[in-house]
């Protein structure tokens, strides 16, 4: 039984399950490092997932679907930005509103366009995102199952070092962190707090939506109601567990993806109830936030609207 759970397919499914988390967590990182709380990751993922599936139905091209999801994510993020950056709405309240909004909007639209509230039509096999054929599946089944992944998987993994570089080695990253830590000082030094925060929020919408698109037209072949099932919040948890650092977030996402993969495999076989395994990310996050293992300190001005003097 142990071998049924722990084999190479576990690695493959860990990577698959971590991918939407990695994309959304990196998204959250850009936003929160700029000082804007993003609990709307869930809603942004849902927006991306629905848009990707719906646009693919109409255009028959998953690539156009991914692109549309990107645009949708940016638009949703712009709404969050408008509310919180321009009109100083409470960032948590605005995020909650967006999460509720995108439980409703996809259902409303799919009801109107596809006559089914909740789901988009099933896409044929050749219209979901293809896998990157790194290894020949016949000769190398194990390697193929691990490495032959959807392009978004590779994009997610690539974005980790890219984000680390951007954040710590570029002027953009320095400014982004500056407005998140000390917006007054950044403003005095001539950095536009509003522009930097918008940049952070918009990037976060784009990446979270990609995570959503991966769920609907990568892992699956349709959008179903609330298909993210809390993954936006797990991504947020991973971001905190990873101490708002790209590499930390990646490791946390892999850990949470691994837990989910194990939970799926253990369903009905082992004595540990599934529900308890699913709680792991949430409990770990609370423990880390309390500083019981290793303290996670948020960006100093996270959640504080900036008012120019």
């Amino acid at each position: 039984m142990f071998r049924n759970i722990f084999n190479y397919t576990l690695i493959a499914s860990t990577i698959r399950l971590s991918t939407p988390l990695i994309l959304a967590a990196l998204g959250g990182l850009y936003s929160e490092r700029s000082g804007v709380i993003n609990i709307a990751l869930e809603g942004m993922m849902l927006a991306g997932a629905f848009t990707a599936a719906a646009v693919t139905v109409f255009t028959q091209s998953p690539w156009v679907g991914v692109l549309a999801a990107l645009v949708a994510g940016i638009l949703v993020a712009a709404l969050h930005g408008l509310a919180t950056i321009n009109y100083r709405a409470d960032q948590v309240v605005s995020g909650t509103a967006i999460n509720i909004l995108f439980l409703g909007v996809p259902a409303l639209l799919s009801g109107a366009f596809f006559d089914s509230t909740g789901a988009t039509p099933q896409l044929p096999r050749d219209q979901v995102l293809p896998e990157v054929p790194v290894f020949n599946a016949e000769n190398w089944p194990a390697l193929a199952s691990i490495f032959n992944q959807k392009p978004l998987v590779y994009l997610a993994l690539l974005l980790v070092p890219v984000t680390a570089y951007v954040l710590y080695r570029t002027r953009f990253g320095l400014r982004l962190r500056a407005v998140g830590e000390n917006p007054e000082a950044a403003d005095t030094a001539g950095v536009s707090v509003i522009k930097m925060r918008y940049a952070g929020v918009l990037i976060s919408g784009a990446l979270a939506a990609l995570g959503g698109a991966y769920l609907s037209i990568g892992q699956n072949s349709l959008f179903t109601r609330n298909m993210t099932a809390g993954r936006g919040f797990i991504a947020l948890a991973a971001l905190i567990f990873g101490k708002w650092d790209p590499l930390g977030a990646l490791l946390a996402c892999l850990l949470f993806g691994f837990a989910e993969a194990v939970a799926i495999r253990m369903q009905g076989t082992v004595k540990i109830p599934n529900q308890f395994i699913q709680m792991i990310p949430y409990l770990l996050t609370m423990i880390v936030l309390a500083g019981l293992i290793r303290r996670a300190t948020p960006p100093r001005s996270l959640g504080v609207a900036y008012v120019k003097e």
Binding site: A89, V93, A97, I98, G104, Q275, F276, L289
Partner: protein, 368 residues
């Protein structure tokens, strides 16, 4: 009067603006907004049915749907008053509902006079404990209540799902629900309450004593917050924690108290759901009452009276949404969720409307 108008104007603008945007969405999906809105209102507040006969159904169900929202709205409002954002009402109400059912199942032998208050108290206490956890974490470790309440929502739902599935489900029941609670814990419905007055309120409408309890709790919350020392201290912490600390108030204690109270109020949803409606714990019963509570509290300006009005509005939307679902071709009940979200956004973006209002009606600028 002027004060009341001042309190009402921004919530009213927000609702109005949300309905306009909602109307545009209705047009976009290919239906007629006025038809949809008329349906929404007549099916939630109308006292006559389609045939012109008097009916209790519309108001009855609207108030039934409003009941849990009064509880969660109050829960969020109390936390708000202490400067805390409780996103965890959703988890707290699940724990409360399960606790009520647990008492009603486990102590089924006790007489109703003892068991009924025990079951109600269980919902309140369980919710209070679940709410106090993020309070303690904030007071002791300074960790943010928003993240902890979000995380605890998932933990709560997992916990009650496990308990239902493995310990309290009837053998072979395919539905995720516990066995029934003892009969003596069933709360009276309005059917029974109004019968002595010769009113024929239909038995099928699940509006029950919990609604009256909700109104009573509103008054108690108002009294507590504005007429007691503890309430004053909670509000003092909310308006300026540093000044409160300086004035000799223990900020940490008030945070724990406010979160426990908030959780207790959210837990009361279980009284309506389990003791008044389904007579068992039914898993996943909440369509987001906890999150809707944020909308209710914001729209009601964190005042108990405002919470009742906002809860009735959202209760009406939930009731009317069902009819929109059935009687329109292209609009589903999800419109209600969309409206709710837009209302929250607009209430939160008060600065936007305030700017407009003071530009066009300069006299109003003196108000703030």
């Amino acid at each position: 009067m002027k004060k009341l108008l001042r309190e009402l104007i921004f919530p009213l603008i927000a609702v109005f603006a949300a309905f306009i945007i909602g109307g545009i969405i209705v047009i976009a999906v290919g239906d007629a907004p006025f038809k949809v809105y008329r349906l929404l209102i007549s099916s939630s507040f109308g006292i006559f049915d389609a045939l012109g006969n008097f009916t209790y159904d519309n108001w009855g169900y609207t108030l039934f749907y409003a009941t849990p929202l009064i509880f969660t709205g109050l829960a969020v409002a109390v936390a708000f008053k202490c400067g805390l954002l409780n996103i965890g009402a959703e988890g707290q109400l699940y724990i409360g509902a399960f606790a009520a059912a647990w008492v009603g199942i486990t102590f089924a032998k006790l007489p109703g006079l003892a068991l009924m208050p025990m079951a109600m108290l269980a919902a309140v206490m369980a919710g209070a404990v679940w709410g106090a956890i993020p309070g303690v974490l904030k007071a002791r470790f300074g960790s943010h209540e928003v993240i902890n309440t979000i995380m605890l929502n998932f933990v709560a739902i997992g916990l009650v799902s496990y308990l239902t599935q493995n310990h309290y489900k009837a053998q072979g029941d395919p539905i995720m629900q516990t066995v029934q609670i003892a009969e003596q814990t069933h709360l009276a419905r309005f059917h029974t309450l109004l019968a002595p007055f010769g009113l024929n309120f239909p038995q099928r409408i699940p509006l029950n004593v919990s609604f009256i309890l909700a109104l009573l709790v509103c008054f108690l919350v108002w009294f507590f917050l504005w007429r007691t020392k503890w309430g004053y201290e909670i509000r003092a912490v909310g308006s300026n924690p540093f000044a409160a600390e300086y004035g000799g108030i223990s900020v940490r204690r008030q945070i724990v108290l406010a979160m426990a109270l908030s959780g207790a109020l959210a837990g009361m949803v279980g009284i309506n759901e389990v003791l008044g409606y389904r007579y068992r714990y039914y898993h996943d019963f909440s369509p987001g009452y906890g999150f809707a509570g944020i909308a209710v509290a914001l729209l009601g300006r964190n005042h108990p009276l405002g919470v009742v009005l906002a809860a009735i509005l959202f209760g009406a939307l939930n009731r009317g949404g069902l009819f929109v679902d059935i009687f329109t071709d292209r609009v589903s009940k999800d419109l209600v969720q969309v409206l709710q979200a837009i209302i929250i956004l607009f209430v939160a973006m008060e600065a936007l409307f305030r700017g407009w209002l003071t530009r066009f009606v300069p006299a109003l600028s003196k108000w703030h």
